[in-house]
Amino acid sequence: MILEKLKAMVKEQLDIDVDKVTESTDIKNDLGLDSLDIVEILMNVEEEWGIVIDDDETTSLKTVGDVIALIEQKTK
């Protein structure tokens, strides 16, 4: 399941508590990530799912759910 895989990825990269992460979790405000963390996560997502996230698509990624929706859309 995409959410579980994302949570494992974030936990491995950042070593933060991901138990409370849900689709409505705000990436910047709830997870407390800085700009480098966010770009790194997106790059890892691209690698893990074999997708390319266009630069313009990153601006609409506010929550974990937004990232999952993008992965689902690109892996159809």
Partner: protein
């Protein structure tokens, strides 16, 4: 320009209002600013005040938040210096982490000045963009992008946030 730093978890809007209150007090000899301002947040645009002449930008990293406030447009980025796979970021040439974070914060502060955000992090930075760099709090690097101007920095007490 004034850079306001605060350590600990803070709500963005209350911190911005707290900074504005301090900025207003510092500027009293120079100009009279309204006591209250609204923070406008519109989709696709960087947050701003509902008045002209005062601009701000916020950044946070691992427990430290910084707000840059100025009469000109401004972009700021703070990053905790930590280990990073430099090779994963081919658009940044750096020999070590220190250089990486200097270049990263420079790029990030520029795209925050323009309001375009991380979508444009890989784009070229204009050669006439002006930056100031600082090392703060034992392990953090800050870059500010704005027109060249005087700059002072304060660390604010989280205890003063109440009421904002």
């Amino acid at each position: 320009m004034i850079l306001f730093f605060i350590r600990g978890e803070v709500g963005s809007d209350s911190f911005i209002r707290y900074c504005y209150n301090n900025y207003r007090n510092v500027m009293l000899d120079v100009e009279e600013l309204p006591e209250h301002v609204e923070i406008l947040r519109e989709e696709g645009k960087k947050p701003r005040f509902d008045i002209d002449g005062v601009h701000f930008n916020l950044s946070h990293s691992y427990g430290v938040t910084v707000c840059a406030m100025s009469h000109t447009e401004v972009g700021v980025d703070i990053e905790k210096i930590r280990s990073v796979h430099i090779g994963k970021f081919p658009f940044i040439e750096a020999r070590d982490e220190k250089e990486f974070f200097e270049k990263w914060t420079e790029r990030e502060s520029y795209v925050k000045l323009t309001g375009e955000g991380i979508a444009k992090i890989k784009c070229d930075i204009p050669s006439d963009a002006h930056f100031e760099h600082f090392d703060v709090f034992d392990g953090y690097h800050v870059a500010v992008c704005a027109e060249e101007q005087n700059l002072i920095a304060y660390e604010l007490d989280p205890g003063g946030l109440e009421g904002f």
